[in-house]
Amino acid sequence: MSRSDVLVDADWVEARIGEPGIALVEVDEDTSAYDRGHIPGAIKIDWKKDLQDPVRRDFVDKAGFEALLSERGISNDDTVVLYGGNNNWFAAYAYWYFKLYGHQNVLLLDGGRKKWELDSRELTTDVPAREKTSYTATEQDASLRALRDEVLAAIGKRNLVDVRSPDEFAGRLLAPAHLPQEQAQRGGHIPTARNVPWSKAANDDGTFRSDDELETLYKGEAGLDFGKDTIAYCRIGERSAHTWFVLHEILGQPNVKNYDGSWTEYGSLVGVPIELGDAR
């Protein structure tokens, strides 16, 4: 994978609005953003209502994903183009999710909703009608997802990237400053983890930084060993999906997993090692 395989720009999307075979999908942290205006032809996926199991702490299962995509009119052959606000935060999470269930052709609109708006491009409130499909997902691709035991076994052996803010990493905060919910029992980080806040991978306009800048950030500044496998985590697995996208899809690192249980799981486990304090 490399940048040109996974990212498209706004001109590319604008030229293909309404084209058959393209499914443009908005996924936002602010799930009401779509209703106020979206890129013409785009449908919406709600990261919480549509993608999370309503009872257990997990994703919707394979059958649930198939039902969702069938109902939204996305077929297995469609090229899915995802975008969202806040540096594509939740769009990158959805991208990971599509890959997890085996969708082949997935792209991210570089800069997402923000760049589109800052460029003063057209937004509409019209909701497109897409004919229902019969979508077939694959089993979850275990090579993209890390579960807790694997994370524990990776301490000191693989790269662990903690992509939360420095205050969360140090144990002073349990959640981003503007989101008080879903807290772990304890603060801190997984021993040996490096701290690279996810948003450092993005420019102000929401586009991803250049390959050279990204490599300097993760390898040069944070000291990740690109010869080793990597697990990224945050608080609930969304910010780390963004970093997974950068490392695995843009920089082409071969073995990168997202630990979606992340700190809300790890920081509530009994008996596991925790480190406090700022990054060294």
Partner: protein, 88 residues
């Protein structure tokens, strides 16, 4: 910059204006020390934004269509609403 009571929160809020008119399309982002990204919100119909920050010094950066960019330093305190008008 004005300050009002805000219970247990440290609120930073304000409006973005251009020649006295609210800027409705754009983004406000809150940055911590070292330009560390904390949060970002789209501007409201009245050009408004609101953050629940931690106490301390923050940088507020506004981005709007047409390459508009503005920055202000603000301080937040528990129990206070720090109100800012950003002129672009």
């Amino acid at each position: 910059m004005t300050k009002d009571a805000a219970g247990k929160e440290a609120i930073v809020e304000g409006r973005v204006l251009s020649d006295g008119t609210p800027v409705r399309s754009g983004y406000a982002r809150l940055l911590g020390t070292g330009d560390e990204f904390v949060a970002e919100v789209p501007l409201g119909e009245d050009g408004g934004f609101r953050f629940f920050a931690a106490p301390g010094e923050w940088t507020l950066r506004v981005l709007a269509p047409g390459g508009v960019r503005a920055e202000r330093t603000v301080s937040a305190d528990i129990g206070q609403i720090t109100s800012v008008e950003v002129l672009v």
